[in-house]
Every structure is written in structure tokens, then in C-alpha cells.
Amino acid sequence: MSSIARPYPAGRPPHARSLGEGIGELLARLGLLAVFLFLYAPLVTIALFALNDSTIQALPWAGFTTRWFEALPADRSLVAAVRFGLTVAGITVVVASIVGTLFAVILHGVRGRSSTVLQAAIVIPVVVPGLVLGLSLAITFRSLGLQPGLLTVVLGHLTFTVPIVTLLVLTRLNRLDPALAQASMDLGAGPVRTFLHVTCPQIRTAVLAAALLTLTLSFDEVIVTYFLVGTEPTLPVHIWAQTRFGFTPSINAVVTLIGTLSVVLVVIALRILERRSGASGSPAATPIDHREGAP
């Protein structure tokens, strides 16, 4: 396993903590802080300018206002874009979760070269630059005679969300103890019943996590989506169109709102997943996974 570590000459004292190391530690912590400042500066900026009482998004600060938030419901094209984006994301999540999980179960059950090749094939859209994927899909849908719109956007989003669900669920399936499914079959349950009553509960959290990821990926995607939308834009495509004129602070407001909401949702989801896995079985934390500790 760890044959990479070479033997060392004996006699040198084990490394002890020194003043130099203390300074190093301090510098490292300051560095960590600096990176976080860098990572959060844009987020704070957006939130602040959502509250700035000016249409010009530049300093000096013009005073505090909530009017950008209040104006949101009246902005029809924005509301329509949010609604369309949610429709796309909703359909994508449902279809990608079902199809992706199904693919994972199949790939896990059928081993061999064709299985490996197919697994690699469906992952291709994830590792191709977004605009190449977008253009190739636009060409395909045009050649097939599909009008740009809901269907093309959803199909486009499926190309990069299905493989992600598949990989996440497949990882979980690979960690499961086969003895449970075997026991179920030995006791007379068929493959379908075994899947529903034994395998399903064990991969439920992985599917949920994947669905959550799919939701955020789909709702935020713009690089591929730009190539696939018709007259109706999703929210990011709408924002993208607005940036050409320099968008109004109402965009800051809606993004701040959605950002806060999605972080809250993610935290809640994490809590739920944590509690559930504490009770009924994340494979890493329960005696179900005894492969590594088996005598």
C-alpha cells in the first residue's frame, strides 16, 4: 500500500516544534484568512450593492435602501426567468435522479468491458468545456428539428447531471455490503423486492445529495444553457442578457435572495442527511460496513 515512503537514515531526532514553526503556523493561518477574504469579497460586494441606494454600482456609498428587493415582484421578465429556470431545474432534478440512479444500478450490476466503456462515455459531457458541449448540442437539436425551448434546455442539462447522479450513486453502491442483498435473495425475495427493500434504503441519502447538487447545477448553469434557450431565458441567461447594458441592482437583490436561500436549503439538507445517516446508516459509520474491519 504505502511502499512509496522510503526508509530514512536513523539517528536524526524526530521533528520537534520550534519558534520557526510557530511563526510558520501563524503565517499559514493569516494566509487562510487572506484566501477567505478573497473568496468572499465578491459575495459581500453583491450583497452590499443590493442595499445601496443608487442605480450606479460604484462607490461612494449612496445610502441604505431595500427598494431593489421591493421592486423584484414587479419585474416581470425577471419573475418569468426565475419561473422558467425553476421549471427547467425541477424537471431536470426528477428525470436526472431517476435515470441516473437507474444507470448506476445497472452499471453496478453488470460488470465487464462494455459496462466500463459506457460509464466513461456518459461522463464525457461533464469533462468537455461547457461551450463546446453547448454548441454540439445546439447543432444536434437543430439537426433533429427540435425547436429551442424547454425541451432542449432540459435535455442539455440532463447531459451533465445524469452522469453526476450516476457516479455519486455508483460510489455508494460500491461501498455497500453485498451480504445484505444476498441474504435477502436467500430468504426468497426477488431482485426487484431486494432492490426496493434492501438496496434502496441504503442509497437513499446518496440519491438525495445528488438531487440537491443537480438542482443547484441546473438552476445556475449559463454557459451551456445560452446555446439552447429559445425566446424564454432561464434566470442566469436573463442576467447575462442584462449585463450587456450593465444590469440594475435588482439583479444583485435577486441573487442575494437566491444565494441566501440556497445556502440555507443546503445547510438544512445537510442536517437532515446527517441525522438520517446517524440513525439508519451511512455506510461509513455503521456496523453494516464491516469489510475493512472484518477479521
Binding site: 521533528h15 460604484a58 461612494p60 463546446v132 454548441l135 454540439s136 445556475d220
Partner: protein, 293 residues
């Protein structure tokens, strides 16, 4: 590895060959993966004449692109910028992940979450925010002129290649961090103790134990960042100005304004090929024998 759905020892229930179950995945891959890539190649060999698609195969698009200066230089510049941004992001995120794994215990999960949270905020808006920060009237320039460090705002901050580079580095850091963190966290702790007991300095421990066991993770993060940077046309359009234009903007303009999809397809394939070559090189350099399970 073991199969989850165990092969039944009796033949009950599985009368058809198991491999038939792969057919749906095959169909999916055919329609949504193979067909688009095939059509992309075919389109790149077609042409446009007076707004109409000319369906005859030729290498004209490629010859034309490689024969003219602008696309060639843009491709080179794009790759260099993307490489630079991905590298800088790795140089920031990898040591950071190492520090977090090695030195933090309770705060570890918090740091991980804090790094990932920005990914949940709209990509486009995070990029746009840099426009607000870097502009002449932006946060940095106003602050610097306000306290008297500068008389005039720094013009190069926005609408420049610097702005593109900075923003791409920014969007790359979380991806590299997560990949590096995942790899570093899997290294068994006793290995560090063994190295220290053997008398290895922290640096020696790093070069002989940590890096060989985590460089694949670092490479995955680097590759992810590179892919994002190479294909990003939003960042150059928002903060790049004329100087910061990148190859992706060329492709998008062929799709949009110019409406020359075949040429856009040829540009895409050139981008794919050059990125693919780079990634193959990265994979080669960071290859590790054996698996850490």
C-alpha cells in the same frame, strides 16, 4: 470490488442475458453523447455560403483558422491564461488544503463548507462582482485613492487580461481545494508519524510521502480548473474588455452574431484538441503507481 445485486445462484428471475440491461445506457450515450460529438465534427467540415449551410466536406475551416493570426494568437493566449490561473489556484488551494487537513481538527468541516459555499452563488454574478470591485470607481480604486495612496485610479485593474486572470483564479480555487482536500484527507495519519519517527524533516515528508499520495487529487483539481478557464466566455466578456478577449468569445460570436456554426464547430474542435493534449500531459506528469484504498 463486489457486485451489489448478487448473481443469483439459482437461475430464477434472470432469464435474459444481464448485458441487455446496458441497452438503455447505450441508447442514451448514443443520442446525447456520441451523436452531438459526431455532428460537431461533421459540422466543422461543412461550410457557410451567404448564410446557407454548404454540406460538402472540406478542411477549409481549419486551414482558414490556423492560417490567420488572430485565432491562433487567441488560442495561445487563452491556453496560457487558463494554465496560469489553474496553476495559481492550485498553488493557493493545495497548501491551504494541506494546512487544513494537517493542522485543523474541529474547524475542518467549517473550512470545507466555507470554501464550497461560493459555488452555490451564481457563477455569473460572482464574476460580475469583480467588475464592481475592480472598476475605476470600484471598491479597490476608491479605497486606494480615498486614503491617498493613489492620485488616479489604476486603469489596468478592469477590462484587462489581468482582470480575466484574477477572476479565473478566483473561480478555480474552490474546485482545486475540494479535489486536493479529498486526496490529502485519505492519506493515513500513521504515515506522517512513521516519516517523522524515521527522522524525515517536514519538507522531506512532504516530497516523499504527501505529494506522491496526493498529486493525483491535485491534478484532478487542476484539470477541472483548466477546463473551466479554457471554456469560459463570460469572464472575458464581463471583465476582459478588448485586451482580455479569449478563444471562447470567438466561438460564441460564430454561434451568435456571425452565425457561422461550421466555423464555430471547427474552433471548438481545435479547443478540445489543445485542451485534451494539455490534460494528457498533466495526467502523465502526476501519474502515481498503485492505489490508496
Amino acid at each position: 470490488m463486489s457486485a451489489a445485486i448478487p448473481a443469483p445462484r439459482t437461475s430464477r428471475g434472470w432469464s435474459f442475458p444481464r448485458r441487455l440491461a446496458l441497452v438503455p445506457i447505450g441508447l442514451y450515450a448514443l443520442v446525447l453523447v456520441a451523436l452531438p460529438n459526431l455532428l460537431l465534427i461533421v459540422y466543422s467540415l461543412w461550410g457557410m455560403e451567404e448564410g446557407r449551410l454548404v454540406r460538402s466536406l472540406s478542411l477549409d475551416n481549419y486551414l482558414d483558422i490556423l492560417g490567420s493570426r488572430v485565432p491562433r494568437e487567441l488560442l495561445l493566449r487563452t491556453i496560457l491564461t487558463a494554465l496560469g490561473a489553474a496553476l495559481l489556484a492550485t498553488l493557493v488551494a493545495y497548501p491551504m488544503a494541506w494546512f487544513v487537513v494537517r493542522r485543523l481538527s474541529r474547524a475542518r468541516l467549517l473550512v470545507l463548507i466555507l470554501v464550497v459555499v461560493p459555488l452555490w452563488i451564481s457563477y455569473l454574478v460572482r464574476v460580475y462582482a469583480w467588475k464592481i470591485i475592480l472598476g475605476d470607481q470600484g471598491v479597490i480604486n476608491t479605497a486606494l485613492t480615498g486614503i491617498g495612496v493613489l492620485d488616479e485610479p489604476l486603469g489596468f485593474l478592469l477590462y484587462s487580461r489581468f482582470a480575466v486572470f484574477l477572476t479565473l483564479t478566483y473561480v478555480s480555487i474552490p474546485f482545486v481545494f475540494v479535489a486536493a482536500y479529498a486526496a490529502l484527507e485519505r492519506i493515513p495519519k500513521p504515515l506522517f508519524e512513521a516519516a517523522a519517527d524515521g527522522g524525515a524533516s517536514p519538507w522531506r515528508t512532504f516530497t516523499t510521502v504527501v505529494w506522491p499520495l496526493s498529486r493525483q487529487g491535485a491534478a484532478i483539481g487542476f484539470a477541472l480548473a483548466l477546463l473551466i478557464c479554457v471554456g469560459d466566455y463570460l469572464t472575458p466578456a464581463l471583465v476582459g474588455g478588448m485586451d482580455g478577449t479569449m478563444f471562447g468569445n470567438l466561438i460564441v460570436s460564430e454561434f451568435g452574431l456571425a452565425n457561422d456554426w461550421p466555423r464555430g464547430a471547427a474552433l471548438s474542435i481545435l479547443m478540445l484538441l489543445s485542451t485534451g493534449l494539455l490534460l494528457a500531459l498533466v495526467a502523465r506528469i502526476t501519474r502515481t503507481e498503485g492505489v490508496l484504498e
